[in-house]
């Protein structure tokens, strides 16, 4: 169905196809007042698995302490600054940052990106939705590399506002090998 998150199944698709559904995403959408304030983390983490690095990565204590390692992360929206530390830390590459206040037309999206070549600042990139469909173009705002190759790079992209909760992967216009299907 057409939704705020793009063209996605209404529900039940996560386990049958790996695609989060509108229902799943509604459950993790940051509240309106947090989104109006600036950048916020969007934790697309829907399954109780033993995992806690997001909580450790957050320097602001915005991700509440886990009482059980299998707990889903819970965010204190008053503390999240949208810094993107958790984006690089998440082992499941399931966290993004969206800033809908960037400009009247554009938003910023931070995405983990473990592919070569890494895009460079001001480069135009192709944006893809959660099913890998091409949904538009964006411009690289900045690339945050870790201290070594082992860390997950985070690419911040300027994109049309409507794609803030739609685009979840990026690619280079002339990518080599390993084509999309």
């Amino acid at each position: 169905m057409k939704s705020f998150y793009g063209d996605l199944p209404e529900k039940g698709s996560l386990l049958s196809s790996g695609i989060p559904s509108v229902e799943d995403l509604d459950g993790v959408l940051p509240p309106a007042d947090a989104r109006k304030k600036g950048p916020v983390a969007v934790l697309e983490c829907f399954q109780e698995i033993p995992c806690d690095p997001c909580g450790y990565a957050c320097k602001f204590g915005a991700i509440k302490e886990f009482s059980d390692v299998n707990d889903l992360p819970v965010i204190d929206w008053t503390k999240c600054t949208g810094c993107g530390q958790c984006v690089a830390a998440c082992p499941g590459l399931a966290i993004f940052v969206v800033d809908e206040t960037y400009s009247p037309e554009e938003c910023l999206i931070a995405m983990p990106h473990e592919f070569l070549p890494l895009p460079e600042r001001d480069q135009v990139v192709l944006l893809y939705d959660r099913e890998g469909r091409h949904v538009g173009e964006g411009t690289v705002h900045r690339v945050v590399r870790g201290k070594d190759k082992i860390a997950t790079p985070v690419v911040w992209v300027r994109a049309p506002k409507a794609l803030g909760y739609v685009a979840r992967a990026l690619g280079l216009p002339e990518r080599e090998g390993g084509s999309r299907n």
Binding site: L14, L15, S16, S17, G18, I19, P20, E44, C45, F46, Q47, E48, I49, P50, C51, D52, P53, G55, Y56, A57, D68, V69, N70, A89, C90, P91, G92, L93, A94, E114, F115, L116, Y128, D129, R130, E131, G132, R133, I150, T152, R168, A169, E176, G177, G178, S179, R180, N181
Partner: protein, 366 residues
């Protein structure tokens, strides 16, 4: 030279077991078939789940490096790399073949952490070159730096199938599809979503019908399957692939355990025949311990904890640490282990371990 403990297998379980034992005063011989210690960690480029105080967020290759460094720095551990364990003998000796020849080493106790092997799947053409185990593809790419081909069909959507699909794309290889016979993705949803947004379709209720080619794989036909996993005629689709990657599960490698006369039992939830062992990871043959996939198919985080419990138990058994300290430490490790296994996605392995616990308790009661 006689050792206190011989550890067979230098993967996450064996390395953790050897370390824990040596740190508690045990003289250890560690044997691994590969030149480079680490087991499957040497090719695991993904970041681990679990606790941040442990290894969560750290890539498998890095965990392997840390464990390897710690083992090599431990004076009580003698490493026999590139050495194969050929056979266990009842006088507590092990026949080994190293690059310098065949010899025998003996020890008071043994820890078999021999891991697992990949399962085959029945379909026409499954023996053609180009049909590879997912683990093999991972080794070829991530250890030796060679792509398996240009275009891949992945069979199986457990964590290995999903992770290797992602890694194939990182290496610049196209993944045409992931097929899964069950109605649901087998692995973690985050891994599935990660490959899905790269445009790789995950086709549940689908399987491979046949591989095409005479000398090697030139294509594959997939089809839909019904609730009993039977192919549905008329739903066939041909895929242009030169590699078919099988991620259809693992089965414990228990050859040495069988040979040593350890009691084994069939537990489908744990991947097949597994040794019967107690809360100290000791089998029914006193002095023979197990850990890791050889004791039941699970994953590396739990394998490391089981290895530590086994190493600690050996130290207690041969009198290197007092009973009370042993029990406290073991209980703490066991608690971590059960927390890791307490999530809804661990239902299957929990059922498997409960079966083994029930067996052990039943025998004690007799």
């Amino acid at each position: 030279m006689e050792y206190d403990l011989i550890v067979v297998g230098g993967g996450p379980a064996g390395l953790s077991g050897a370390l824990k034992a040596a740190q508690n005063g045990v003289r250890v011989a560690l044997i691994d078939r590969q030149e480079q210690l680490g087991g499957q960690l040497v090719k695991q480029t993904h970041k681990f789940f679990g606790w941040s105080q442990r290894y969560a967020g750290v890539r498998g290759i890095e965990i392997g490096r840390r464990l390897r460094d710690a083992v090599c720095a431990e004076p009580r551990i003698t490493v026999f790399a590139g050495t194969e364990a050929l056979g266990y003998y009842p006088d507590n000796s092990l026949l080994i073949e190293s690059p310098s020849g065949v010899s025998r080493i003996t020890a008071k106790t043994f820890l078999f952490a021999t891991g697992a092997q990949e399962r085959m799947l029945l379909f026409r053409g499954n023996d053609l070159p180009g049909v590879y185990g997912a683990g093999a593809v991972q080794t070829l790419m991530n250890v030796y730096g060679v792509r398996p081909g240009r275009s891949v069909l992945m069979v199986g959507s457990g964590n290995i199938g999903l992770i290797v699909s992602y890694q194939l794309r990182q290496a610049g290889v196209t993944v045409r599809a992931i097929v899964e016979a069950l109605p649901q993705v087998g692995g973690y949803a985050v891994h599935a979503s990660k490959v899905r947004r790269l445009g790789i379709p995950i086709l549940t209720r689908h399987s491979i019908k046949e591989a095409h080619g005479t000398e090697c794989v030139e294509g594959a036909t997939i089809w839909e399957v019904d609730d009993k996993f039977r192919g549905i005629p008329g739903t066939e689709k041909d895929l242009d692939v030169d590699v078919i990657c099988l991620a259809t599960g693992l089965t414990p490698l228990g050859d040495l355990l069988w040979q040593a006369g350890v009691s084994m039992t069939y537990v489908p939830e744990l991947g097949g025949f597994v040794p019967i062992y107690d809360e100290n990871m000791e089998t029914e043959r006193p002095g023979i311990f197990v850990a890791g996939d050889a004791a039941g198919i699970e994953e590396a985080s739990t394998a490391m904890l089981c290895g530590e419990i086994a190493g600690l138990s050996v130290a207690a058994k041969i009198g290197k640490i007092p009973r009370q300290r042993f029990e406290e430490e073991r209980n703490a490790l066991a608690q971590e282990l059960s927390a890791l296994r307490s999530g809804p996605l661990s239902n299957k392995v929990r059922t498997g371990y409960e079966r083994i616990r029930a067996l052990v308790q039943g025998r004690r009661g007799r």
